[in-house]
């Protein structure tokens, strides 16, 4: 490569970068509307898992599960059509805020990334990666390196968002089974 090193700089300026950190891309309301466009309104409800059920989910998933959950219930004509949960996971060293939607039949919708706060790993925002979640259910592995492909260089962000979605899918399924979510 010849020339002065800074002669490369204009190449960067000409590119159309899309990176950012500490950025809110979507609000919870925007995410829920995107996940369930068929809904005519959403009801924010609070749930508490039975302790025995919480412990059972933790053991099955190998993840921490909080006892109390805020769920945005998607409604259409007075009938529930799905559930949206907005949650946070740690990427490498800061929070990623995401939303997972689960339909009545238990199938996951593509994940929405609401806020990303780090300078690396933001590739999890790519449509192609988020769309991998579509159609997964409680019985799916929902695990990077299994039924979800990784993004090399964003491994921690991918792994932790997948963990977060797996946790939400299990909790929503549990709440539906118990009759609390209907």
């Amino acid at each position: 490569m010849a020339g002065r090193p800074w002669s490369l700089l204009p190449v960067a300026v000409l590119a159309a970068p899309g990176v950012a950190f500490a950025v809110d891309y979507l609000t919870g309301d925007q995410a829920q509307a995107g996940l369930f466009p068929e809904a005519d309104h959403f009801e924010v409800r609070n749930f508490a898992l039975e302790e025995t059920e919480r412990m059972a989910i933790q053991k099955r998933l190998g993840l921490q599960v909080r006892p109390k959950w805020v769920v945005r219930v998607a409604m259409r004509g007075g009938t529930m059509v799905g559930a949206v949960v907005v949650d946070d996971v740690i990427g490498k060293f800061d929070r990623i805020t995401f939303a997972a939607g689960v339909g009545l039949e238990g199938a996951v919708r593509p994940v929405e990334i609401l806020s990303y706060r780090e300078s690396h790993g933001q590739e999890v925002r790519q449509d192609s990666w988020r769309n991998q979640f579509a159609g997964k259910t409680e019985t799916s592995p929902l695990r990077v390196g299994d039924d979800l492909a990784n993004i090399s260089g964003a491994t921690l962000s991918c792994t932790h968002v997948a963990d977060g979605v797996r946790r939400i899918v299990a909790v929503v399924a549990s709440l539906k089974r118990s009759g609390a979510l209907k």
Partner: protein, 423 residues
């Protein structure tokens, strides 16, 4: 044990002045925060702590008397978010357990930089930061690579951990493209070691610890660095298809030359260039990767000619390649077992100017003053097969084992065991 969030709350309440003017988060958490083991820890709202480390056991199968166990590195990171757009990150490393004048260890600053989001479409990094070359240099925590030690191509040809002082711009462009570009401190050949009385390394463990690679031994790590010459680099990656990564990077810049006596002609400035290309395919449990790296150093003839019969002349070119396959044969909610196989070739000197190449003793040579402590002078190129497995106790804690077989330096064959973690 307090969770990290409850610890944060306790600390903040106990030290009201510690976060007197907290920077507003970009958005509050909707759910009650939970402790998630194995992740970085935001101790205060804007302060992060993380770390990683690894311990090795290396047993040369043909020279078992040189078996070593080593607390190879312990690294702790500190980061602080000054505002939603300005973040500081740093990593502090101790190598080989003890760092003092009479010990082999080192204490060093591995990273120390500020990220500034200049616009929603542009991030600027300034300080001491990792170079975006290959797979491992920017992602070198033990759970992220296969094998007890890092592969030879990404240590001897692409140094790791390779950091320089300078300015970087990076971002994503279009669907799935990531780019990085910058200007950094260059290489310094002022202290190049053309030879030594005893072999510089006689085991594979020593090979990685001695850092004999042409860029390993000349990069400056911002230690009173000669900044009269700078290097420019650009890296491009495509990750638009889940599981696929294809990319490459190139760096070039003038370097500080070897000082020669005034009456010895020493024309031209050495120019150091390195380029690499890599591809990785991780569809589910399978993990396939290849990487090629090559480098060139110009204007080395005078320095090499002034040091005839050197065991370690400056190479004009050097290169390496590896191909690796891994597959997770077992995975449940807690554990994962991933065997792997890797073949690699490295040539720390594939061509020379001003010399025909290293002149090394044939047959056994003394390694130290201890009678009977002999070995072979190592060749600076080899082909290595590595077979082994990573066993993940959690995604962040890994136990490793591998066996390496060397085609040229056959006395380097070894069994490795390792423990690594990152949080």
């Amino acid at each position: 044990m307090l969770s990290r969030f409850s610890l944060a709350a306790a600390l903040v309440s106990a030290l009201p002045g510690a976060a007197a003017e907290p920077v507003p988060a970009s958005s509050p958490a909707e759910q009650t925060p939970i402790a998630e083991a194995g992740h970085a820890s935001p101790v205060f709202e804007n302060l992060n702590i993380w770390g990683y480390g690894e311990i090795y056991y290396a047993r040369p199968s043909k020279d078992e008397g040189r078996t070593v166990a080593d607390m190879r590195r312990a690294v702790f990171g500190l980061g602080y978010r000054f505002s939603p757009r300005v973040v500081f990150n740093s990593e502090w490393e101790v190598e080989h357990a003890i760092a003092s004048a009479s010990d082999a260890g080192e204490f060093e600053i591995e990273q120390f930089y500020v990220d500034f989001e200049a616009a929603d479409s542009l991030t600027v990094t300034a300080g001491l930061f990792l170079m975006p070359f290959g797979f491992i240099n920017e992602h070198h925590e033990p759970p992220q690579f296969y094998g007890v030690q890092r592969n030879f191509v990404e240590t001897l040809i692409i140094p790791s951990t390779w950091r320089e002082g300078g300015i970087n711009l990076h971002g994503n462009a279009g669907p799935g493209f990531g780019w990085s570009i910058g200007v950094v401190t260059g290489n310094n050949f002022k202290d190049w070691q053309f030879g030594s009385v005893t072999p510089p390394y006689v085991t594979a463990f020593d090979l990685e610890a001695a850092e004999p690679g042409p860029l390993q031994s000349t990069h400056q790590e911002l230690q009173i660095a000669d900044a009269s010459h700078l290097s420019g680099y650009v890296a491009l990656n495509y990750h638009g298809i889940p599981g696929l990564l294809i990319g490459g990077a190139v760096i070039s810049g003038n370097a500080t030359k070897v000082p020669l006596p005034a009456d010895v002609p020493n024309p031209g400035q050495p120019r150091v260039s390195l380029w690499e290309g890599h591809a990785r395919w991780t569809p589910g449990r399978l993990d396939l990767s290849v990487l090629y790296a090559g480098g060139h150093i110009s204007n080395t003839a005078a320095a090499n000619a002034a040091n005839p019969d050197a065991t370690n002349p400056i190479p004009a070119s050097f290169n390496g390649f590896y191909a690796q396959a891994a597959y997770s044969v077992y995975q449940d909610a807690t554990f994962r077992l991933t065997p792997f196989l890797r073949w690699e070739t490295y040539r720390m000197g594939s061509s020379y100017e001003g010399t025909s190449g290293p002149v090394v003793p044939a047959g056994p040579v003394a390694v130290s003053d201890t009678p009977g402590d002999v070995s072979f002078w190592p060749q600076n190129n080899d082909q290595v097969w590595t077979v082994g497995a990573n066993f993940y106790i959690t995604p962040q804690v890994v136990v490793k084992a591998d066996y390496q077989r060397f085609a040229n330096n056959t006395n380097f064959d070894r069994l490795d065991l390792g423990l690594g973690l990152a949080f």
